[in-house]
Amino acid sequence: MGVEGIGARVERKEDKRFLTGKGRYTDDMVVPGMKYAAFVRSPHAHAKIKSVDGSTAEGMPGVIGVLNGQQMLDDGIGNLICGWMIHSKDGSPMKMGAWRPLAHETVRYVGDAVAVVVADSIDEARDAAEAVVVDYEELPAVTEAATALTGGQPQIHPEAGGNLIYDWAIGTDVAETDAAIAAAAHVTEMTIVNNRLSPNPMEPRAALGIYDGAEDHYTCYTTSQNPHVARLVMSAFYNVAPENKLRVIAPDVGGGFGSKIFIYPEEIVCLWASKRTGVPVKWTSDRTEAFLTDAHGRDHLSTVKMAFDSDNRITALKVDTIANFGAYMSLFSSSVPTYLYATLLSGQYDIPAIHANVRAVYTNTAPVDAYRGAGRPEATYLLERTIETAARELGVSPAELRRKNFIRSFPHQTPVIMNYDAGDYEASLEAAMKEADWAGFDARKAEAEGRGKKRGIGMSCYIEACGIAPSAAVGSLGAGVGLWESAEVRVNAVGTIEVLTGSHSHGQGHETTFAQLVADRFGVPIDSVSIVHGDTDKVQMGMGTYGSRSGAVGMSAIVKALDKVEVKAKKIAAHLMEADESDIVIENGEAKVAGTDKTVPWFQVALAAYTAHNLPAGMEPGLKEGAFYDPSNFTFPAGCYICEVEIDPETGKTEIVQFVAADDFGNIINPMIVEGQVHGGIAQGIGQALLEAVHYDPQTGQLLTASYMDYAMPRADDLPSFKVSHQNTPCPGNPLGIKGCGEAGAIGSPPALMNAITDAIGNNDLTMPATPQKVWAAVHAAQ
């Protein structure tokens, strides 16, 4: 590795602009004549709209327009859609109800948009939004998925009888699984709740819609993780504009964690309102709107049976999950509790029979979709809490039970579709136990007891599937899009390089790691490499960043394009030096003839390509190549996390005294950035396990956690410093051997922490988040 090449801890190129206040986020954009939008939102969880009267609002100071859902319907703007078709066990397609960008007949959750006001200032827009009179006829509401499935509950969409969207199953035949469970020496049964979360990227969502009447052209600046998908969907399904008339730009984006993958009503409304009112329209969510309307994450209720033979080998796993989808099916919602969840239920274990059943349910709550980890945290939490409980019931050490059941030969086909390509689970387990000084725990526990504290230790061995995904495979499973990635490498005439990528960076540091890849290939300084992303006018097409796919898929596309550039550059260099193409090597910023002292500087190769004065016969001028990369398989990062806690039994407060992460991410481009991803993921996982929960009032459907006053975000003093290490086995499936690291932290940490807390207090039933009140109640009940 060079100082700036693959594997180097290079400081980030993008940092200077963020550190000096020069980042450019959507809300920072200002265009001439720009006006501000404020939404009128439903205060009810479920109601019929009898009328919307904007006449008072229209006359208020600064107001340019008051627009409603009927007008939007009249203008032919389409429904929001879910882009992944899931079929129920009986073969019927999922039951998707209509989601209007502005509701005109029925509102289905608190925050559902009903009308929009455009005004000279945001304060004036809000003043007027309050004056829009909406006459509602309130209907009963239901917020919990399990309740929504029972008889006599409010019917949320006419399309989905009994609020059931689908009833889907995967894996081994039920009868076979049941038989294995019946024959087992021991069965561990649990009810597992995966709490509902609000993703909370620190930058709230925003959109700026600009309609150019002369060109009949639209531009949308928006906080998106995947601007090309946004354009595709807005164009093909929402009828906002044809793709060639719609430019979507996602500039600097302040975090996403999944919540900015989806296309929301507001960006569509801003574009449409810009045409309707004749002015550019900007909307910026406030945090309350974010809590109300950003897609939430998780919210599963599951029962699980894990069966063991007399030698403590797992013989079968049976899972039944109810997934709360909220009031509408968000863009990828259907895939999360199915192909992103149930396919990972084998974990790191060799389990001969797995059957999972998943029911997706409408409720009067915000839509639920992918949030950091999407499905894999749910699978890991269920599995790792269950195996830990099993170890306690069987009276064996949690490490031994896991070891006994580890998959040890690869490739390994699980009963739930996935074919694991490589891994060494033992290596991560050993490394983590050593780093955590597992052997010394008993002494530390005794010492803590002397101070009146209950100390506990817990582990979790996770696996996840990243690098989504082979297009044909996901297509056969119902995906509406392919999940390849594109790249274009443009070498300029002076040898500097631009890389255009369909991946999108919103904190991941692509401007640095992608440049490292290029620097590594040609031996040029990373400062001579620029990464271009996030603009549909610049980058032809791309699928965006989520599912830890930018390294494994996005960078693989760059590698393919670099391969092509290299071939051509070698031809040119060979021609210039009158050597054989096969003898040319490119390194340290020059092309050399191997075994001689003949060299041509890189910039001269580039210059020759563009002057075209002296190129090999028949060669086209220029040095620019594009590539699409479609992965052949998922990648399978895995690892072991160990958490140690001390609990104050008098208050129930948990202090994390140690957190160890040992991960296998395959090859690593920039360890500093990878560690940063793990830190952030762990913090979100700890947030889920200890602090965070979205609460709705079950009677009224009001959101009780609509601000940081009630939604507990992890802060610096809730967390320790983390001990992070890697035990890497290169991924055989892609040219760089990368697996992906963006979500592991959020996947592996919740069960490690909950296993530690339940170890400390001796209660296996505690649910997340383990708030002081709950832990105290559990300790208290045990006394």
């Binding site: 400081e11 980030r12 993008e14 940092d15 200077k16 602009r17 963020f18 550190l19 000096t20 206040g21 020069k22 980042g23 450019r24 986020y25 809300d27 920072d28 200002v30 200032s121 304060d123 909370n200 990227p201 620190m202 930058e203 709230p204 600097d252 984006v253 302040g254 975090g255 964690f257 910026t284 406030d286 945090r287 309350t288 919103h506 904190g507 991941q508 540091g509 500093m672 950035i673 560690e675 940063g676 830190h679 952030g680 993921g681 762990i682 913090a683 979100q684 601000s707 940081y708 006053m709 975000m713 992890p714 802060r715 610096a716 003093d717 967390l719 410093s721 983390f722 932290g745």
Partner: protein, 162 residues
């Protein structure tokens, strides 16, 4: 509308504002200094932290008219002559930022903290003093590291100068 005058990053500025205008909006919309961010409505996230008369405050919770006559420093005013401030440099060296959204507030908070504690900062104190700043990306690990590194660099620099 009322006219407010204040010093921002060493320059005297004034403008007519509605009295309900928050300082953060005056800074962002009037002065075009968009480095100061808004991340919440309840004064808790700290994305908006600036210095008023040398002390960190939340510019989302102060009206522009309340700040009239004061001296404000924003993230744009920290680096001098193209050189990053030592705290900015430490955030870069220690990967103390990812998406960059919380970063201006974090950096302004860190400078204030180091002003108050100097080289005596330890990890616990840093974490406590970050109570008013939320970061969703970094898990705080590298932010804490960066602040501690900057504090020790700056106090070493100060001692060397004395």
């Amino acid at each position: 509308m009322t006219k407010v005058t204040m010093t921002v990053n060493g320059r005297q500025v004034s403008g007519d504002v509605e009295e309900r205008t928050l300082l953060v909006h005056f800074i962002r919309d009037r002065l075009g200094l968009t480095g100061t961010h808004v991340g919440c409505d309840t004064s808790q996230c700290g994305a908006c932290v600036v210095h008023m008369d040398g002390k960190s405050i939340k510019s989302c919770s102060t009206l522009a008219v309340q700040a009239a006559g004061s001296s404000i420093t924003t993230i744009e005013g920290l680096a001098q002559g193209g050189e990053l401030h030592p705290v900015q440099a430490a955030f870069k060296a220690n990967h103390g930022l990812q998406c960059g959204f919380c970063t201006p507030g974090m950096v302004m908070t860190a400078v204030d903290m180091i002003n108050r504690y100097g080289g005596s900062l330890d990890e616990k104190t840093v974490r406590e003093n970050l109570e008013g700043n939320i970061c969703r990306c970094t898990g705080y690990h590298n932010i804490v590291k960066a602040i501690l590194a900057a504090a020790s660099d700056m106090s070493a620099g100060r001692q060397a100068a004395e």
